[in-house]
Symmetry: D3
Subunit: 233 residues, 6 copies
């Protein structure tokens, strides 16, 4: 017997885009099944390469660059929402939209892209988790776990459980980058929201939707960022 | 001395996309100059290949396929609006938006993508022309003019001036295609709106923004669809 | 035992107006009963004579004439929605409204008027049918069926089943009229949407709401426009 | 030489309706001229007979009856706005709309119908006058002035200047009627808003738009409700 | 066994403010329980002292003074809605919002502050009661009942049942005050809405939420304003 | 002769609140004068003590606590906007609002409070500065300058010019606090936005509006955070 959970899934824009149509269909199927198994689901989709292309295209200030990146992430969010069966077809475009959809919705997944310049889609996933009181954020990303150094470093060690402070320390040690579409900075923001509201974040490899399913239903993950003490694998 | 005109420019999504960044910059510069020369400008941008990719990506009904195509066209519209100097940065997403922007705007270009399922961006350009009382619609497209047969046909003749009815006859003779993103049907709609409100449509080759400038400022064009008698080149 | 259907009902503005109050009350009762019998219901109401009066009244371009006609159709839609028991009291005024109401609604009828200049309320009924995946559009109109010639012609024959293409051919043969409020043109659009998404349209005489009920519950109709071969009565 | 005024004109729905097309055109011309002479203009249009017909049509609670009456008044407001040259084409439908249009508008007339159940269009005209700091409300109505008794009474005397309190006393003495569309009550509300903000109200016979023009430009009126002592004609 | 009721509760801003945190928590708990017992609940919160402070602060016309008072009442409404468990987290800010929330909501309390300049939160409670067809409005106020004279008068008698007309007479006899935030006038409006739609109003002492509970569940109240004959205690 | 500047002023909520009415009036006068001298002005107002009181009042998750704090800051923003002469009376409540007001506004100040959970009003001031291309952000705060240590430390030295990196280092060295209404964290965010878009921030003591005026017109300030090398006083 499973337990019904309230969960936010953040999916990298790399996996929800025209580049890999079968993967999008697979994600839609998996997320629909999670709903059918009784879980309450909120999904945030990143902007991926389409976002980066449009950010590079426009000749504008950084605010508008952020904004076109957000719009690109909404296009990916739409692609997922329109392909899923149990989803709200309206993508929230403001906090007000989010409050309405959240208050009025009944057993469908709410799918979001970015929300506002100055915030990564990671931060949006944590903010939504705060609003809805989610027990878990699953971050389906391009690496399989959090490492104590950049994964490209051969001496990097995978971390199974990491405290918010330790994760902050790791991220802070790398050079921050401030261009739109490069939100390492704002992942600090994500971690701070997670910490203030004690929301555990499971890092999983997003190239297979099954990893998202397993994180929710079986408690499998690459790393878990949480309040507890850090623990190497 | 030039005369100030009220003009709607429809640009194919092929020309406003990350595929050709210098062309987008060139378009922005040209349209800014048209504004600076005192003309009142409204621009509609098509969805192009990004729209077709997302339409192909989603597994949904045709309404939602149309809708994601419209969103893609708005991404292109944003790319142009954010790169231009004299533009409204808010893209209209409904008739209501359009009415507000039109009523309150003061000497900036309003940039739109698609507006509603069941209407091509060509139809949107004609509807906006009706609303604002435009004297001319310039359609910057992938062919240089209207031909009496498909341009691929070696016996096709270029038409300099074409009546609305003749243009309707030419378009009707080809097989209608009804998939989202393929709007030959809705170009019939565009022509009917043009006809009911007697709005001349200049067809120009959109691969060079100068052709748009020349259509407005010098009256040059590939074909002109208008109330007058058709005339071969 | 009946089967629950998803159905869009288009009602001519002639039948939902202050001219015939008992008929409006009768329609409200019948549509409430259809809901109570478990069907999922969407209703589109036309503008009728009130629309034509206001279109004639304003001294404006055709876009604004269309728009005031749409507003008049929304007044009729309100009259129906406010009189019904199982209805959303908010009339959708944009695609965005429609998406929200559709995604969040739970067992009430959504009532719409027109949506956008350049589209008849017939086209709106087909677009909504596409969005919601309706199995049937019932068009409650001023004639009892589709004929192979204008019904006023004494040699006109009633058609029981008509293919989309045959219906298109019949409508195309008559002179198109392009004034706002006269949407013969846009019924071509309706037929093309129906064809691209294979949505059957039942034509019934709207002067008696029972005809709408019977079309849904018993499968009775004057004509059925569908993918199958045409068939005379 | 004239002085530029900020003025709100309330026009009875009787005069802006399909019943008298030349009168609507005449009103549009007169109001455009007032704008052209440099005055800042806000117009509120009543619901008239179309409102009463729809209120009678619906079988609903009084809130929704009020609401359909308001929608009817907006149809009249649109008819005027779309016919005028110097008008915002978007009709405000909430306080928020009103604030935006008011803050962003530049030398066009804002045309409104009713705003909210429980408030007559008379009250709306006073509220708008408060917001914009109007120096005068011109109430173009079906009588030519305020009388000390109902005008049907042969002993009724016309009042040239009336204090707010005296006007309140006259209105209170008549039997209040509370059905939607019958807002004698809310005219008490109008008078209280006028009194708290000391806004003079000129009563003129609305059957001739010239009376509105003369009230603004020449200071002619039937009655003036103001802070000063009442004065019989 | 209890009977499920549809009820609007108006709570004075005095009781929902940072001044008395335990009372706000108590109100939230009581209202949640009313929902849990199966009643359909709508709550309107007044502006209280925070409203009066901001009204006094701004140097503006009365319309904007009213508006900032409304915003303050919405802050109180948020405080209650965010503390409650079974509440819509979006506060309605227009009639349109209200219609959407009302049509789409499913078993949560809708919490509102003021809605529009020129209307007290008392009037809002009656308008909402009209819209939803409430059987009862409970007015949780700073006095325990309606008296035949101002409660400060030692000869004042408490009235158990009062007719609408008698209540109107009592309120009219006192001097009307017209400043924003002082809505004795608009309570006349409230009474007229109550009378036209025959909605009984129970007056209870709001300093204890139990009085609200008892009014709904047990039929206890200080005074009841209703259609029946007035009756002294 | 002065030069017209585009400037964003952030005012601490401590200075725009009912606590000090003469100060609010003084601010309104000063900001109106800045507009009258030809500068383009955007103002962001913080939440102050009213925000902290409501955050403390609600029993909710941190997202909703942030949100009620934002609403309180908007109440302060309204107080300023309604008291000023040359201001938009509509407070932006989303990025979309901001884009519309910014694109359509003509020579009035846009006044904002907070915009979104997870972002301080400081961050909002920097985001708006990015959007509009402001040459300067003036932060009118409760200290007179940035110090190299907390100002309470007697060895703290005032910094006249500080680089973004140095300011980041100073802020990072203090313990981050993550509760809603305590945004030291998000001031890191503000600094990163400032750095990525090279926007200088002048710190001035906000207890006297003249300091804001002098920062804009005369270039006086307590500290300037900028790209240049840090410099002690």
């Amino acid at each position: 017997m499973y337990v019904q959970m309230k969960v936010v899934v953040k999916i990298s824009g790399k996996f929800i885009s025209p580049i890999d149509k079968p993967l999008v269909r697979e994600y839609a199927k998996t997320l629909d099944q999670i709903i059918e198994e009784g879980h309450e689901l909120f999904v945030v989709v990143g902007g991926g390469s389409i976002a980066r292309k449009y950010i590079d295209l426009v000749n504008s200030n950084n605010f508008l660059k952020d904004l076109i990146g957000i719009e690109a992430s909404r296009l990916n969010a739409r692609a997922l929402a329109y392909t899923m069966k149990h989803s709200i077809k309206r993508i929230p475009e403001s906090i007000d939209d989010l409050l309405k959809l959240y208050s009025l919705n009944f057993r469908k997944a709410i799918i979001s892209g970015g929300l506002q310049p100055g915030q990564s889609t990671n931060a949006v996933s944590l903010l939504i988790a705060e609003l809805v009181g989610a027990e878990l954020v699953v971050n389906a990303t391009t690496v399989d776990a959090l490492y104590d150094k950049p994964p490209s470093d051969p001496t990097a060690k995978k971390l199974l459980k990491v405290s918010y402070d330790e994760a902050l320390r790791i991220l802070s040690s790398t050079q921050w980058k401030q261009e739109p579409g490069r939100y390492e900075l704002f992942d600090l923001l994500s971690l701070h929201i997670a910490k203030r509201s004690k929301i555990p974040i499971a890092i999983v490899n997003g190239s297979d939707p099954l990893n998202v399913y397993n994180a929710i239903v079986k408690g499998y993950y690459g790393s878990l960022i949480t309040n507890e003490l850090s623990k190497e694998l």
